[in-house]
Symmetry: C2
Subunit: 384 residues, 2 copies
């Protein structure tokens, strides 16, 4: 096991009806800016429920944070928050709204050009406190301190992380996911699955518990994922998926182990240049990535084959092929395509993707830093 520091101070309020408890989590007299996305929180009544829970506080609202939230949009919220001297942010939504709100939290008190927080990793000294009401289980943003923001003008999708933007609290009410469109449900399952894989499927590091926990998350997603699509109002299923997605990226399974994240980096360029959903890009890249790096990942691929897909016997290479193939089938069974061709992206798109990777310095990815541009080309090609 590698040395690690683990610290996750986010308070989770899990279960039906927990929005009623958020007033206790926000300082009395706070001026609260509620942030959200495209407006489904109005239709479902969640926004009203939050307003009601916060009766007596000064509330401001900022809607329209888009999927893959943009710097341009978020800066409008920063201006609003500064103008109104807001002192608490409350995000209602999925990973995009929460990631965007973390950026707002860091940018409001930032003394300088906020874009530098992303582009130059400019040091943050403080951030507005924030809470979240999660409506889409997927990214884990509700219990971590990372954020991905896109600059619309240049299509750069950049990342920052800082302990100051851990949510103070997050409400996880599974009933809020009942009305999600199937595509978002499926995307969320794929997203949580690949988050887990990025922290698990590397090389053995004598981290027995982290392996078992990661395997527990994968098995739960495989068992419960299809049920969430077939039976959208099954509370128990939704609860399991919601908690699984949070635990897939809250620092726990990644503590003390090597991590990969190459699939995410190749995926980000697909979103930036072709507008694919984040999870779609992961479903496309992962099976190809595992094939291209099967030798480096051999020991963990065999463990994955055995413990997740019950493939403990027979030729090892055949087992690895079968495990990768079942992973692909699982994504496809959820309705998430795993081939570039299925999204009308052909071989001619690959050079531009590789250029973007190079521009962003993504030339030595993965747990061995051996995913260079040539290897990335192979992955994109195998994903055609």
């Amino acid at each position: 096991m590698q040395n690690f520091t683990f610290h996750n101070p986010t308070r989770i309020l899990f279960g039906q009806g927990r929005i009623a408890d958020i007033a206790q989590e926000i300082p009395q007299g706070a001026k609260v800016l509620i942030t959200y996305g495209g407006g489904s929180v109005k239709k479902t009544g969640t926004l009203d429920e939050v307003r009601q829970a916060l009766t007596g506080l000064s509330l401001f609202e900022f809607g329209g944070i888009e999927p893959n939230p943009t710097f341009e949009t978020l800066m409008q919220a920063v201006e609003l928050a500064r103008r109104e001297s807001v002192d608490f942010l409350l995000a209602i939504g999925g990973g995009s709204v929460i990631d965007g709100t973390k950026f707002i939290a860091a940018a409001v008190p930032f003394d300088g050009e906020p874009w530098d927080i992303l582009a130059r990793h400019a040091p943050i000294e403080s951030a507005l406190p924030l809470g979240t009401v999660l409506t889409l289980p997927a990214t884990g943003s509700e219990m971590n301190c990372g954020s991905v923001v896109t600059r619309r003008a240049t299509q750069d999708k950049l990342f920052f992380a800082h302990p100051a933007v851990f949510p103070r609290f997050s409400v996880l009410d599974p009933t809020k996911t009942f009305t999600l469109p199937p595509r978002q449900v499926a995307n969320g399952i794929v997203d949580a699955y690949v988050h887990t894989i990025e922290q698990y499927l590397t090389y053995p590091a004598d981290a027995k518990v982290q392996d078992r926990f990661a395997e527990g998350l994968l098995l739960t997603l495989i068992e419960e994922g299809p049920k969430a699509l077939a039976d959208p109002e099954n509370y128990a299923v939704r609860a399991n998926i919601m908690w699984t997605a949070t635990l897939a990226l809250n620092g726990l399974i990644g503590a003390g182990v090597p991590q990969d994240w190459a699939t995410h980096m190749l995926g980000h360029e697909l979103t930036a240049l072709h507008g694919l959903d984040h999870a779609q890009t992961l479903a496309i890249v992962l099976p190809a990535m595992l094939q291209v790096r099967r030798e480096q990942k051999r020991d963990k691929l065999l463990q994955y084959a055995e413990r997740i897909w019950n493939l403990g016997d027979g030729d090892p290479d055949a087992r690895i092929d079968e495990a990768i193939s079942r992973t692909r089938d699982f994504f496809e069974s959820l309705g998430v395509g795993t081939r570039l061709g299925g999204y009308d992206i052909g071989a001619d798109a690959i050079p531009a993707l590789l250029d973007k990777l190079e521009q962003h310095g993504m030339t030595a990815l993965g747990e061995h830093q051996d995913v260079d541009i040539e290897r990335s080309r192979k992955v994109y090609e195998l994903a055609l």
Copy 2:
């Protein structure tokens, strides 16, 4: 899944050499009281290592906190801390030292009779901040907010918990466990195992992740436990056991599920009246407890039999018997006896144990509150 609130703010500094990092976790200029037990921290050099890491701070020391720490001893530390206006506590040791230090932390600023914190659950408003350097993986106290303290005069073993006594940080350096006596190593493994069982082996609650995580902890203890005894300086093994024991009682696997704890309650009386090690009492009580309540726990016992002991086929009752029997064998294989007789305790001791349970109001224990005195009698009898 049941509704739950999960919040665990303890920062874990895991790995060899992490004591060097503790100065960053303690406020500059703090007056620090270092607490420890019987003096092994002097022999092993850990106390010196801590002193060196804290060069420049005002340090005070209080040693002699005993296993099953007593109110009487701890109050001497409270007096010292008050007299010297200490403002940070640093516990070096295992669960007893850490539990005791939590009590000191709560008692120092407490306005009233500190015994009431335990005996009457008197409300705490604040506590001194504390950190820990763990030397004995077992209780999980390094990452939770609970504490068990015994009053020597009456042999009452009582519990309190409060968020204010979460350690601010805990150092988990596996090398600090290399020199532990085998009995303490074995006790720690049994303790972590039974902590996990108390939160897992109840009735199904549609909490798939919690089940998988609990099973991951149990499997790791079964795989790594014997290796820790056979090969004491195997870093990877020690690291896995250390992190497993912490995760077994940090709130994670118990969030959203029914919990039992009857085995612990019956065990506490054995320690109080007969001086047995905490883990010995658990090893004695658990197999009998599972037999007595096999009908109420049937579904989870079958899941435990299948996922932990690979007993998926054959007569269900035989599988349950076999799973309980293997649990007993596992404890015995570590050198921890599972029969009262092995500790020279006979049937004549049972009435006094039951009296103590009754005195302490332990008359409706377990996840169904159906472990009454009669059922406790059966458990003790079956454990003879």
